[in-house]
């Protein structure tokens, strides 16, 4: 498998060096593996910090900037970062108003962020966490580690980041993050597996006419495998799963996300089907995103995230944002 890398061992560090060179608005600490706003902490503002395995670009480092994250902690490929990274990020971006961690519900992320939260609290820094668990492909039961955090992470980071910018207190921002999560659902479908630089081969085998339904974002297989169908049918499967869990009506935000290896033309095909589905359900698509926002290396496929908006969340979504990967209104 061909990869544009120097060495499988140094992929994350080399990519961070590239981010630093490409985005002067970021301060990238390659040694400590953290990406910070170059403007530094703002006194009286809650610092919004996220992180997770690398390989999901632009998540999370691509969302560091005005109106979104204060810092991101990239782990190794598909591996959660370590507590030292979040601790360092929290210390450096703390503006006196506390730190909010946005955490995807994966065992490793949860454990490492918990350890970092304890360490920050020991230093007298107030910490709150929002756990994102929007993936309806996971049956929410005692038999799993709970629903995974996927596409809604982007929404939670944007909306909590916008609220933090207004100087809102930590508790209110955390509650709002939980509300965004509660109003959001996602479902992902893979056409191909992905290839991690270290393994150099596909994480699983998928026949030429097969798709995986209900994937997460780590190249892991989904829940079931089925024959490749037209986009309309795949979208129906994804949207039915979402709608069964959270009946879709009223104003909604839709994100059609590419997994890294799918061209935009296919994502637009998918978006047309998603929009038609929602129209049939009587929901109004008032905000939308189409593109690669939370990826899985070079995997082909897509995920759909739907969030039921209200007026307040819509305003926060529309608030200015200026990051490498998301930018409007400023």
């Amino acid at each position: 498998m061909k990869k544009l890398i120097n060495d499988a061992e140094s992929v994350v560090a080399d990519a961070l060096a590239g981010m630093a060179a490409a985005h002067p608005s970021l301060r990238v600490d390659v040694r400590n593996r953290i990406v910070l706003r170059a403007s530094g902490p703002r006194p009286g503002k809650v610092a919004v910090v996220s992180g997770g395995g690398s390989g999901h670009e632009p998540l999370h480092a691509g969302y560091v900037g005005y109106g979104m994250l204060d810092a991101a902690c990239p782990g190794e490929i598909f591996t959660s970062p370590v507590p030292d990274q979040m601790l360092e990020a929290g210390q450096r971006m703390h503006g006196g108003a506390g730190v909010l961690f946005v955490v995807k519900n994966y065992t490793g992320d949860v454990l490492n962020f918990e350890m970092a939260a304890e360490a920050l609290a020991e230093e007298g820094i107030e910490v709150a966490s929002v756990l994102v668990n929007d993936d309806v492909a996971v049956q929410d039961s005692v038999y799993t580690a709970g629903r995974r955090g996927t596409g809604a992470t982007v929404l939670v980071e944007k909306i909590t980041g916008a609220l933090a910018e207004t100087g809102a207190p930590l508790a209110e921002i955390a509650l709002t993050g939980e509300e965004v999560n509660a109003r959001s659902r996602s479902f992902g479908i893979a056409l191909t597996p992905c290839v991690t630089p270290a393994a150099g081969e596909p994480t699983f085998e998928l026949g030429p006419n097969e798709v995986e339904l209900g994937i997460g974002i780590h190249g892991e297989p989904g829940r079931t495998r089925t024959a490749l169908e037209p986009a309309r049918e795949l979208v129906r499967i994804a949207m039915d799963a979402i709608n069964d869990d959270l009946p879709l009506s009223g104003d909604v935000l839709v994100m059609v996300n590419g997994m890294g290896g799918t061209p935009l033309i296919e994502l637009y095909v998918v978006f047309a089907e998603v929009a038609a589905y929602l129209r049939r359900k009587g929901a109004n698509v008032t905000r939308r995103l189409v593109g690669n926002y939370i990826t899985s290396l070079d995997m082909q496929g897509f995920s759909v995230t739907v969030c039921r908006l209200d007026e307040r969340l819509t305003l926060l979504w529309d608030a200015p944002v200026e990051t490498p990967a998301l930018r409007w209104g400023r």
Binding site: F78, S80, H218, E220, P221, R223
Partner: protein, 217 residues
């Protein structure tokens, strides 16, 4: 068993994990996210470096340093689980300069409790607990029977190995593999497998130290 014995154990762990990293990653690719071998290899390489820079005086401080290093280097779920377990084992051993089999057994049981508390997993969930728990049971029984350390640790390693193999038929209920539901059946759990390797390393070091001419454990 003194500080040098435990240093030899960690050294053997580092060697075995490095040798088996592709095997562990392959197991993980089937039901997880294909990084377990590389992550543990990074962690144990870090332990090697940490021990080269510091020379802890007691088995307890040695294991605590190793645990902290794993938490700092590994990430994922295995970093906090293995790292905290080693750290709590180190604490359990206290300041003692040498450790008997009973103390080591108690420390391993503390490690098991730590893993259970953090990961919330029980026997049968298809996790490292499925190797660690039977090893602790076998070790406790051996202590009660008063067998020699190398024999006791052999039984523990065998129990861990059997526990790891038994995960093949289980459906995962914790960790990344749980998302696969019934599709996780038929694959050996990578975490249970690495636990079995670590306990086999403990046995191998105990056996080689017990050989004539070697410093006894």
């Amino acid at each position: 068993m003194d500080t040098r014995f435990f240093a030899a154990w960690l050294e053997e762990c580092a060697r075995v994990v490095h040798e088996q990293r592709e095997y562990l990653t392959r197991l993980d690719a089937a039901i997880g996210d294909a990084d377990h071998g590389n992550n543990l290899d990074r962690g144990f390489t870090g332990i090697r470096q940490a021990l080269a820079e510091n020379a802890p005086k007691t088995p307890g401080s040695l294991l605590a340093l190793a645990g902290t290093t794993l938490v700092r280097k590994v990430g994922g779920a295995s970093g906090p689980l293995y790292g905290s377990a080693l750290r709590q084992m180190g604490k359990a051993l206290g300041d003692a300069e040498t450790v008997g089999l009973a103390e080591l057994t108690g420390a391993l049981e503390t490690g098991l409790q730590t893993v259970r508390r953090l990961g919330g997993a029980e026997v049968g969930d298809k996790t490292m607990v499925d190797a660690l728990a039977p090893a602790c049971v076998a070790l406790r029984r051996a202590v009660e029977e008063g067998v020699k350390p190398q024999e006791a640790l052999s039984r523990a390693a065998d129990a861990a190995d059997k526990g790891a193999k038994d995960t093949v038929s289980m459906q995962a209920r914790k960790g990344r593999a749980s998302y696969l539901g019934p599709r996780s059946i038929g694959h050996q759990d990578p975490g249970a497998t690495s636990t079995a390797l670590i306990l086999a390393a403990l046995r191998d070091v105990a056996v080689s130290w017990a050989e004539p001419g070697a410093a006894g454990p």
